[in-house]
Every structure is written in structure tokens, then in C-alpha cells.
């Protein structure tokens, strides 16, 4: 046991601790030399290498100190370490650092070690076991799940009120729209991955089909956004069925690979069908949405159409359209959420979850697996299509560049990170995956590094996703009072496929 008594810290075995910290720092050195120390730059003479030894030294130094801190916590000096770590965090905030990266590492590292020290002081142990950590996180997830009853409506009200707060400038509204787009895509993909348990790596294909449906219909036939929105959903759903028929007989990894291929096929078609889709140049001048076909968001609208600001007697502001787009994507996202919440209580949703748990048992109960999976695929694709046509009208320009595999990966990361099947988890994860990089724009160089590190940490600490917790969709005895012996309190809905690489089954 690692239990230690706080009152009488042992004498510190400095040589052992220093050796351990040095070893860790050495590993960090090996990793940071290629990852951080070398950088390729485009020079007129060709590709050149730039070295960044300062950053390497800083990173190695911080790792050394961090490990030292962890060792000291283990040895019973948690309070000292806490003070030092808090000081380091504060230093990161207030003292100018040579690079932004150093600052963030200092703040984050200091905070993590401080948290560990606090945990050690509170529990008398330097480390929680995996099972304990799981239990705690499960508990939190369950609490959040139950809290989402009132948290959800509050969040919706806050989101509705947001554009009218003084905070809402152009940039924040744009980030809000981006976030909501990913929340919507996450909720859409959650139907396939979280409920039906089918690992879809090509969700972005349906997003692309939706976006190009609108762009092309508007380009060739001049259809308006409001006509194209349902059409885009329909076409995306059809492409979902088209993909679904041949591949739904596959399972697990094979299924994932085929969907991955499908995503690439759509993108490559878009690039190569130059005459029709404009190829890599994309399509520009996609019409902006009107106010439900009644009014335009321009200062001087064309003949025969009203202007939004005149209609409501407002002063013209370019923000009106942004706010309208914000509400539009909020409404679309809420439709997806409402659908999922309702369908979970219907035979269709229950059949999806049953398929995720055990599809052979489903067949023995007379459930037509193909139809159920096709339905999941088509519905999720339809929502992807809606989001796609929204994306097209917001950007005004689309090209195949916007629909690369990394988009699929990000959406999937949001779903898995949030906890498969958890609606509120998707929102939290979207804030983490989309919101944080937007907040730390200056660190763009380290974005993928931080993204990968975050993923590794989540997989280590919480392989089933942050808020993976499933409540039964129907209860016989009502909600239990308090903890012990309660139903379904333990393991959450870990997908049978073990997508999260977790300890499923």
C-alpha cells in the first residue's frame, strides 16, 4: 500500500528521488528533441531545419521539477509541494515568459501537481487506484446526468440569451456558431456510435453531401436555403442508406475501415469531378440564408425583397445575420438533441442500444438488424446533411478541403471523449476539443501535440469517456433514493466493441 501518514514525513531519500526525476527528464529529452526541438521551415533555398533548444531545455526542466514534486508527494511532503506548485502556477500567470508555450506548460503542470497534492492531503495517499478513480468519475457522471434535467434548460436559456449580452461580439458569436456546429455533428454521430455502437469514421462524408447539395442546388437551380435544407438532409440520408446497404454486414474494425474509405471517396469525387463541383477550387458565392424567405440581411436588398432591419425597424448591423445564424444552428442542434432523447425511449432507440450490447441476441429476438442499423445510419446522415448545408450557407464558400478525415476524427473524438451515448458529454467535449484550441490560438504550433496528449490522458484516466453514464430509459420502481444497492449504479454503457480501447467485457 502507498498509504502514508501525514503527520510524520519520512526522511527523504534524495538520491533515489533525484535519480527517478532525472530518468523521467531523460525520457522527456528523447521525446522533445524531435517533437519540439526541430522544426522544418520553408526557405527560398529549400526546406530548412530550425532548432528550438530553449524550449527543449525548458520542457525537460519542467518535467524534472514536476517528477520531483510527484516523488515528494509520495514521500509525504504534499503541503510543501502544494505551495510550490501553486507558486509555479501563479508565476505562469503573472511573470512574463520567453515563450507562450512555456507559460501554458507551467500553469497546466503546476495545476496538475497541485491537484495531486491536494488529493494526497485529503485522502492520505499519493495516488488513487484505477478502480477508485473510475468509481469517482462514474459518480460524477451520474450526478451530471441527473443534474442535466435542470442544467439542460438553463444551458438552453443561457445560449438563447447570449447574443443579447454585451459579451457577444463578432468573434465570440463566430466561436459560438462553430461550437454549436460541432455539438450538432457530435449529437448526430452519437446516434450511430453511441447508441447503435457502429464505429463510423467517415461521418464527414454526410456533412460534405449536405454542404455540396445546398451549394450545387443553389448554384445550378438558384434554390433558396430554406428549400435546400430539407433536400440536403434527404440527400445525405440517401447517401447513408447507399453506404449502409453493402457495409452493414461487416462488424467492428472492418466496418470502421469501410466508412473511413467512404469518407475519402466522397472527398476525392468532389476534388476530381471538376466540371460539376468546381474541383479543388470549390464553390464560392453560395447565397446567404434569408430571414425565412421573408427578408434579407443586407443593407440594400434587391428589388422585391424586404430588408430585415427595415422590417423590424432596427438600425442596420452586420451582426444581425450572425445572430440569426447562431439561432439557426442552435435550433438545428436542439432538434437533434430532442430527437435523440425521445427516440431513446422508443423501440427504435432501444433496439439500437440492444444492437450495441449484443447483436446476435437481437437477431434471436426477431429484430431486423439491417433495418435498424440502416435507420441509425440514415438518420445520423440526415442530421449531418443539415449541419453541412448550414456550414455552406454560413461560409459562403466550400471546397473539399473542409471535409478531410481530420474532421471525422474530431467529431468522433468529441463523441468518445464525452462518453459514448451521453448527450451532455458531447457538449462538454465539444467545448474542450473546439473551444480550448480557439481560446489558445497563439499556441497553434502545439495544437496537435496538445490534442494528442489530451487524448492519451483521457484514454489512460477515463477510457469510457468523461461523462459515460447511462440511465435506464424506463423504470419500474422509480428513481432510487441515495446510493447503495441502487440500480445501474455501477458500470456505464461501455460499447461492446470497446471503441475507447477500454476494458469492455
Amino acid at each position: 500500500m502507498t498509504a502514508i501518514s501525514m503527520s510524520s514525513p519520512r526522511a527523504i531519500a534524495w538520491p533515489a528521488i533525484l535519480k527517478e526525476a532525472a530518468m523521467t527528464a531523460f525520457v522527456a529529452l528523447l521525446l522533445t528533441i524531435p517533437l519540439v526541438g526541430l522544426r522544418t521551415v520553408d526557405r527560398p533555398t529549400g526546406l530548412g531545419l530550425e532548432t528550438r533548444w530553449n524550449e527543449v531545455a525548458a520542457a525537460v526542466g519542467l518535467v524534472f521539477l514536476g517528477r520531483l514534486g510527484l516523488c515528494l508527494i509520495r514521500e509525504g511532503h504534499a503541503v510543501t509541494v502544494l505551495v510550490l506548485a501553486a507558486a509555479a502556477t501563479a508565476a505562469g500567470f503573472f511573470i512574463a515568459m520567453p515563450t507562450e508555450a512555456l507559460r501554458v506548460i507551467l500553469i497546466a503542470g503546476g495545476a496538475v501537481i497541485a491537484i495531486r497534492a491536494i488529493l494526497a492531503i485529503r485522502t492520505g495517499r499519493s495516488k488513487l487506484s484505477q478502480a477508485e478513480r473510475d468509481k469517482r468519475m462514474d459518480h460524477i457522471a451520474a450526478q451530471v446526468q441527473h443534474a442535466s434535467r435542470w442544467l439542460g434548460p438553463i444551458a438552453v436559456v443561457v445560449a438563447l440569451a447570449f447574443p443579447f449580452t454585451p459579451l457577444a461580439d463578432r468573434q465570440l458569436l463566430d466561436i459560438g456558431i462553430l461550437l454549436l456546429t460541432y455539438v450538432m455533428l457530435g449529437w448526430g454521430l452519437n446516434i450511430v456510435v453511441g447508441l447503435a455502437g457502429l464505429l463510423d469514421l467517415g461521418y464527414v462524408a454526410f456533412y460534405a453531401v449536405g454542404a455540396y447539395s445546398y451549394a450545387l442546388l443553389a448554384h445550378y437551380f438558384g434554390f433558396s436555403f430554406w428549400v435546400c435544407l430539407p433536400l440536403a438532409g434527404f440527400l445525405a440520408a440517401m447517401s447513408g442508406v447507399l453506404l449502409g446497404f453493402p457495409v452493414l454486414r461487416l462488424r467492428g474494425d472492418y466496418f470502421a475501415i469501410v466508412t473511413l474509405g467512404f469518407g475519402e471517396i466522397i472527398r476525392i469525387i468532389l476534388i476530381n469531378w471538376y466540371q460539376f463541383t468546381g474541383g479543388p477550387n470549390g464553390i464560392s458565392g453560395i447565397p446567404r440564408p434569408s430571414f425565412f424567405g421573408l427578408a434579407d440581411f443586407t443593407r440594400t436588398p434587391a428589388e422585391g425583397t424586404a430588408a430585415f432591419h427595415e422590417m423590424f425597424g432596427l438600425e442596420f448591423s452586420p451582426l444581425h445575420r450572425i445572430i440569426f445564424l447562431y439561432y439557426l444552428i442552435l435550433a438545428l442542434a436542439l432538434v437533434v438533441n430532442l430527437f435523440t432523447m425521445r427516440v431513446r425511449k422508443l423501440p427504435l432507440g432501444r433496439a439500437w442500444e440492444a444492437l450495441r450490447e449484443d447483436d446476435i441476441a437481437c437477431a434471436s429476438l426477431g429484430i431486423n438488424r439491417t433495418n435498424m442499423k440502416l435507420a441509425a445510419f440514415a438518420i445520423a446522415a440526415m442530421f449531418g446533411g443539415f449541419a453541412g448545408s448550414f456550414f455552406a450557407t454560413r461560409q459562403g464558400f466550400i471546397s473539399p478541403e473542409s471535409f478531410t478525415f481530420i474532421e471525422s476524427a474530431i467529431i468522433l473524438a468529441i463523441v468518445v471523449l464525452g462518453g459514448m451515448g451521453s448527450q451532455i458529454g458531447v457538449v462538454v467535449a465539444a467545448f474542450l476539443v473546439i473551444g480550448l484550441p480557439e481560446a489558445f490560438r497563439e499556441l497553434a504550433d502545439y495544437r496537435m501535440l496538445a490534442f494528442g496528449m489530451g487524448m492519451v490522458l483521457i484514454m489512460l484516466w477515463r477510457p469510457r469517456g468523461l461523462l459515460a453514464h447511462r440511465d435506464p430509459t424506463i423504470l419500474l420502481h422509480g428513481r432510487p433514493k441515495g446510493g447503495s444497492g441502487g440500480p445501474a449504479a455501477g458500470t456505464a454503457a461501455a460499447g461492446g466493441q470497446g471503441i475507447a480501447g477500454g476494458s469492455a467485457k
Binding site: 425521445r342 423501440p347 427504435l348 440492444a354 450495441r356 429476438l365 426477431g366 435507420a375 419500474l476
Partner: protein
């Protein structure tokens, strides 16, 4: 062969069923009949082809040769070997359980039983459209489904665990839940693949009571694979014995128990008599080949 089941029209008739996997003949020309309101046990040593036979009947395998006819009491006939897997449960009303329990572990006990009534419910929910709109017809059907689930939960003594996660139940309870789930599909024939495996004697006794109750109160046919002879002999009306994919005996428990062929299959005999004639004929050649190989 006995004429045990020839008196009435049987529920299930298996004729010349053969299942080959490449060169391996898992089930070889097996014919028998199972009656309504009877428990038909299929027994045999390990690897005798019992589960393969089950998988053919419940549509998980398509038999290589043979005919499987299921007759409902209203006279409708179903040729099971021609139906895709899920239709056998949906249309022909054959339900089954699995040797290694296959519950929906992450879902609650009650949800497991509701999913079993999927086909009834999805029709009532207008393929989800009426359900999404919250129409009353669906609410009513769902309430009935919950009532049926409650009835079976009560029968298998799991009512108080209804809201538990199925995967968290103890082993014996999971076995019972699987039977309850199969019964919630309202089958005319229930196929149980080793339901007593891993149960202690008290639980096996309860299982036997449950199965006789299902047979007597619901008048359905029960097809049972089981190794626990105390269960088989006490509750079966009819026993079919398989060995190496062939049927070696067929009759009531008393007859089968004393059948020399069955005793030979279970207890063995002197060594050279165990080998079939054709293998014996091959022996010198095999020995010769082995010699050449060396």
C-alpha cells in the same frame, strides 16, 4: 426409431437434417419431432452436434440438407430452413437462449424484456413516427409490454431487480432473465441451450419448476439441450440422443436411459468396438502412410 410423436401433428418436424462445415459433418441426417406442450430434451456427449442443431433450427445456420417444419396451432406452416435468422423469431415465433448468456448487459433488466417485444412495439409506434409525436396508441402498447415484462419478472423472481443493470446480476439470475426475455417474445416454441449450466442444485431445481410451468401454463413446446441429467430425466417428456452428429436414440426418458446405444455413447465400450467399420478398414493404410512419412 419409436413412433412416440406420430400420434398428433407435431409442432416441429426435423427431417434429414445435415449440417456440414467444410469436411466436418456436425449434424448427420437427424430426424425427429417435437410436440406442443411437451419438453423435448436433446442430449449427447460434448461435440455431438446439439448446439449446431439448435443453430439450424433458430436460423443462425442454414442447414446443408434437410427440412425443418414448424406448425402453429392455427395451421400455419413455416419452413425454417428457408427463413433468415430474425424472421424465425419474428414470424414463426421461435425463441431461444444461448449457452454463454447473451443479455444486453448495459441495459436494465426491464429494458431487456421490453426490447424482446420490439416487433410489437415498433408497429405500435408507427415505426417511430407516432412514437416521436407521443400518440396514445403507442403509450398503451408500451404499458401492456411493461405488464408482460412484469409478469415474467415475477415468474423468474426478478421483479425487485427490474431497474438493475442486467450485467450486474448474479449468474443464476442472468440465466433466468434470459429465459424471461425469450418468453417475452411470446413464442410457440422455446429453445434453451444448456440453461442449467453453472447453476447449483437448488437453482437447477427451480429451473426445472420454471420449465414445467412454462410448458403446462403456456402450452408451448420446449426444446432443451442439457447436460444435467437430473433435470433432463425429471422434466422431459421426450429425449433425443445425439452422438457424433447422428441420432442414436429417441423416446421417453425411461426408454432412453436403458437404451444400450446411449449407455455405449456415454460410458464407452471396449476399445476396438468403438471404431466404426469404415475407419477400421482404413487403419492399415493410415499406419502405412505414417511410416512413409517418417
Amino acid at each position: 426409431m419409436t413412433t412416440h410423436s406420430m400420434t398428433t401433428t407435431p409442432l416441429l418436424t426435423v427431417e434429414h437434417l445435415t449440417m456440414r462445415f467444410g469436411g466436418l459433418v456436425a449434424v448427420n441426417d437427424v430426424s425427429f419431432a417435437a410436440n406442443n406442450g411437451e419438453i423435448t430434451a436433446i442430449i449427447g456427449p460434448n461435440g455431438a452436434g446439439k448446439t449446431t442443431l439448435f443453430n439450424c433450427i433458430t436460423g443462425f445456420y442454414t442447414p446443408t440438407v434437410g427440412r425443418l417444419t414448424l406448425r402453429h396451432s392455427d395451421g400455419k406452416e413455416f419452413l425454417l430452413e428457408r427463413m433468415p435468422g430474425y424472421r424465425i423469431s419474428q414470424k414463426a415465433s421461435v425463441a431461444r437462449t444461448f449457452q454463454n448468456i447473451r443479455l444486453f448487459g448495459g441495459m436494465s433488466v426491464l429494458e431487456n424484456l421490453i426490447v424482446a417485444q420490439h416487433n410489437k412495439l415498433i408497429r405500435a409506434s408507427g415505426f417511430s413516427i407516432a412514437g416521436l409525436l407521443g400518440l396514445p396508441s403507442y403509450t398503451k402498447t408500451e404499458r401492456e409490454a411493461v405488464d408482460l415484462a412484469k409478469y415474467w419478472l415475477d415468474r423468474v423472481r426478478l421483479l425487485e431487480f427490474a431497474d438493475w443493470e442486467a450485467g450486474n446480476l448474479p449468474y443464476g439470475a442472468q440465466r433466468r432473465l434470459e429465459i424471461a426475455r425469450a418468453m417475452c417474445t411470446e413464442p410457440v416454441m422455446l429453445c434453451l441451450d444448456e440453461p442449467a449450466a453453472g447453476l447449483n442444485p437448488r437453482e437447477s431445481g427451480e429451473l426445472a419448476d420454471l420449465l414445467t410451468y412454462i410448458r403446462d401454463a403456456h402450452k408451448i413446446g420446449v426444446l432443451l439441450i442439457e447436460h444435467d441429467m437430473s433435470v433432463v430425466m425429471s422434466i422431459s417428456d421426450h429425449v433425443v440422443v445425439l452422438d457424433y452428429g447422428r441420432k442414436i436414440s429417441d423416446g421417453d426418458p425411461a426408454f432412453v436411459k436403458n437404451d444400450p446405444a446411449v449407455i455405449r455413447a456415454y460410458l464407452g465400450e471396449e476399445e476396438d468396438e468403438e471404431l466404426p467399420v469404415e475407419i477400421k478398414a482404413d487403419l492399415p493404410e493410415v499406419a502405412k502412410r505414417a511410416e512413409e512419412g517418417a
